[in-house]
């Protein structure tokens, strides 16, 4: 225990839990993120209940583009789990392929989102225009920020796979990044119907 190998070098598995620090840590972080996005959904529900009429998503938002975005994010969820699978099978080439695919899909998602927002701004629809748009911009904005965070993490892992492919903690970190990315996808799975379809 007191050896110089600092805590960070060996994947420490909890004696009683059988879970590595990284996995427990990322699940704790996702727990707090669930609370964060649940608060945004509570706000959305409370604001909607408080108002007598609420615009339908169809006539305000671009639903086809939203659908495409959802499919993009789902595909990226698949590619990130494939990347994790290849990391376990120690196939670096395929890992880098799938991870770059994930990053590409993430960037595509942001581009489509940026285009959609641009469309709204062009029509003069800003967060201050109506409470529906305020909720829309806040929720999709905070989600986009989380997507950007995930992209940065994934790119760092892609870049690290060059030098630290054999680092004992590398697979744990890929798993953690994958779990976070799946969470970001799940938030969008709930966000899309709530804002666009109801």
């Amino acid at each position: 225990m007191s050896s110089e190998a600092a805590v960070m070098d060996v994947p420490h598995v909890g004696a009683s839990t059988g879970v590595t620090n990284a996995k427990l840590g990322i699940w704790l972080f996702l727990a707090s993120e669930v609370m964060l996005f649940s608060t945004l959904f509570t706000t959305y529900i409370v604001l909607r209940l408080g108002s007598s009429s609420w615009p339908r998503g169809w006539n305000v938002l671009n639903v086809p583009l939203g659908t495409v975005n959802t499919l993009v994010l789902i595909t990226s969820s698949v590619t990130v789990v494939m990347a994790y699978a290849k990391a376990i099978e120690r196939k670096r080439g395929q890992f880098r392929l799938f991870m770059s695919l994930t990053i590409a899909l993430g960037v595509l998602f942001l581009i489509l989102k940026g285009f959609e927002w641009g469309q709204h701004f062009h029509n003069g629809e800003f967060p201050s225009t109506s409470i529906f748009l305020a909720a829309y911009f806040t929720m999709t904005g905070l989600h986009a920020l989380h997507v950007i965070g995930g992209l940065i993490t994934n790119s760092i892992l892609l870049w690290l796979s060059e030098t630290q492919w054999d680092h004992p903690l590398f697979i744990g970190r890929v798993e953690a990044a994958g779990l976070y990315w799946h969470f970001v996808d799940i938030v969008w799975i709930f966000l899309f119907p709530a804002l666009y379809l109801l």
């Binding site: 225990m1 007191s2 050896s3 110089e4 600092a6 805590v7 960070m8 070098d9 420490h12 598995v13 909890g14 004696a15 009683s16 839990t17 879970v19 620090n21 427990l24 840590g25 704790l28 972080f29 727990a31 707090s32 993120e33 609370m35 964060l36 996005f37 649940s38 608060t39 945004l40 706000t43 409370v46 604001l47 408080g50 108002s51 800003f126 967060p127 201050s128 225009t129 109506s130 409470i131 529906f132 748009l133 305020a134 909720a135 911009f137 806040t138 905070l142």
Partner: protein, 575 residues
């Protein structure tokens, strides 16, 4: 990766260190100075409360005319002092001291871990906290001045008052810092306990940090979301918390409307109530450690104490709206929160009962830490009891937002948490620095602080009963406060006296850092693991692998020749 510890640069070893002990001390020094700053704010406020419209004696001349024209404090400056006092003490003072300083330093030692689970995340938490503190304090120099709508910052006032944006950004930083800290703590406590250290052999302090971290992890994000919404309201002119026709400074605000001011209160108090349990649980853990050590007997009802803490942790999420009985929330919902509030008072009483029963049959030593721990019990009792009329809906109609409320929570936080943490400082100072703090100065500091604190807060019950409402810039403007105005003067004088009694503590603290009486590894003959390693512990904490064989408070075993057995000693004979 981690370079060999010996030849690390001074910068890496002391400033950008990832060692939980150095980070713990960084938190401690920053949190103590923030508490002092918050206390200075309140001393200035007390002048205005005691002698409204009288120019502030010393400081009046130096304050800019915008804040205090010819020395007399303006309403806006008073409100910003009040808001900053509340925010600094709660989010930048006590939580970083209780969780950041004591938690960071002591928890890994008490569970036999070499360091926290994520050392770099630990360092990031501290630096986020420091950035937030600097941003918050510098908000005084912004054009509009610091935030002025109370530490609760209710919209629509907070949507238009100056200084709120800096407050929200600082809050987002400190919330992220505490959030990352909570992840670190929970992973460490759950995953990195020494072999043999089962959950039910953990010291009560570790349990209290565990529950506090769960609350930190799950209660903070809602207010972070609320802060983002309020930031959007202020910066992008959305109307999350603004109804349709709201007027701002007499002009009809052309926002989109549709928002609800009560939504912020729900989100804020969803955090703020677990927050107040985060403020009080770790100090209760410290008091339990000190009492067990100085009565030389195991704590009475260890299982009751731990299950009470877990019960408080779980319930603290469904009690929040007892702050909102009169806020326009539906009265029927108030009945629900009335019941949950009364349920949560039961484990708090059970905690106190067990701590008092732990004195029974002990051999009590009245050294400085024990004095603080013993003083905590009746003071926390008064704080808890005065919560009863505030928790019941009809009596809360009268006492809501009066000085009675201020007396109630200050009794729990000041004479409770802060006194307990002073005790923790005296108790663990030998472990931090290998030296003892002077006892006579400690006694002076103790008795002086205890008397002055009661001098400040007991009159608040009297003024509160007379109906004096809180946050009054000029209390004498309201005629029904005039008969009790002299009690405000008593409180103010006691507050200034309390500052004088902090001077021996500050001197004692810094003097003992270098010239305190050198001590052995375990001066208090305590049984928990942090006393089995050298003080101050080296990097990696324990010189030999740690294995735990017994519970945390094995004192006065019959037949043993010593009245304490450390947790990592296998058989009594070897003791």
């Amino acid at each position: 990766m981690e370079t060999n510890h010996h030849n690390q640069s001074w910068m890496k070893k002391y400033v950008f260190s990832t060692d939980h002990k150095t980070i713990g001390l960084q938190y401690m020094f920053t949190a103590l100075s923030m508490l002092l700053i918050g206390f200075i704010f309140v001393m200035i406020m007390r002048w205005q409360i005691a002698f409204p419209y009288a120019p502030i004696p010393v400081l009046g001349r130096w304050l800019p005319a915008r804040l205090a024209p010819n020395g007399v404090m303006t309403g806006a400056f008073y409100n910003s002092l009040g808001a900053m006092h509340g925010t600094i003490m709660v989010f930048f003072g006590i939580v970083p001291l209780a969780v950041g300083a004591f938690g960071n330093y002591i928890v890994p030692l008490q569970i036999g871990a070499p360091d926290m689970a994520f050392p770099r995340l630990n360092m990031l938490s501290y630096w986020l906290y420091l950035t937030a503190s600097i941003l918050l304090l510098s908000s005084f120099f912004l054009p509009g001045g610091a935030a002025q709508s109370g530490w609760t910052s209710y919209p629509p006032l907070a949507d238009f008052n100056p200084g709120q944006t800096a407050w929200i950004v600082a809050m987002l930083f400190v919330i992220t810092s505490s959030l990352l800290g909570a992840i670190n703590f929970l992973t460490t406590i759950i995953n990195m306990r020494a072999p043999g250290m089962t959950l039910w052999r953990m010291p009560v302090f570790v349990w209290s940090e565990f529950v506090a971290s769960v609350l930190l992890l799950l209660a903070f994000p809602p207010m972070e979301a609320g802060g983002v919404l309020q930031l959007m309201d202020r910066v992008l002119h959305t109307s999350f918390f603004l109804p349709k026709e709201v007027m701002i400074f007499g002009v009809l605000y052309k926002g989109s409307g549709g928002g609800q001011p009560l939504l912020w209160q729900h989100l804020f108090w969803f955090l703020a109530h677990p927050e107040v349990y985060i403020l009080v649980l770790p100090p209760i853990g410290i008091v339990a450690e000190i009492i067990a050590n100085n009565t030389r007997r195991p704590l009475h009802g260890y299982k009751i104490i731990v299950s009470s803490m877990l019960f408080i942790g779980a319930l603290s999420f469904v009690v929040w709206a007892h702050h909102m009985f009169l806020s326009g929330m539906s009265p029927i919902l108030a009945n629900f929160f009335l019941v949950t509030t009364m349920i949560i008072s039961v484990p708090s009483v059970a905690l106190l009962t067990c701590l008092i029963y732990s004195l029974h049959g002990g051999s009590i030593r009245f050294n400085t830490p024990m004095l603080y721990a013993l003083a905590f019990l009746p003071m926390f009792g008064i704080g808890g009891l005065t919560g009863l009329p505030l928790g019941l809906t009809p009596t809360d109609i009268y006492l809501h937002d009066t000085y009675y409320v201020i007396g109630h929570f200050h009794y729990i936080v000041v004479t409770g948490s802060i006194m307990a943490m002073f005790g923790g400082l005296y108790y663990w100072f030998p472990k931090f620095f290998g030296r003892k703090m002077n006892d006579t100065l400690g006694q002076i500091h103790f008795w002086g602080s205890l008397i002055c604190m009661n001098g400040i807060f007991f009159p608040m019950f009297i003024t509160g009963m007379a109906g004096e409402s809180r946050r009054l810039w000029v209390p004498t403007a309201q005629l029904h406060d005039l008969p009790v105005q002299h009690w405000n003067v008593v409180s103010s004088v006691s507050a200034w006296a309390l500052f004088l009694f902090q001077l021996p503590f500050i001197y004692n603290f810094f003097h003992s850092l270098f010239h305190g009486e050198k001590t052995v590894e375990n001066p208090w003959h305590a049984t928990t693991l942090e006393w089995t390693c050298p003080s101050p512990p080296p990097h990696g904490n324990f010189t030999k692998p740690v294995r735990v064989y017994r519970g945390p408070y094995e004192y006065s075993l019959p037949g043993a020749h010593r009245d304490w057995i450390a947790q990592d000693i296998e058989s009594e004979a070897a003791a």
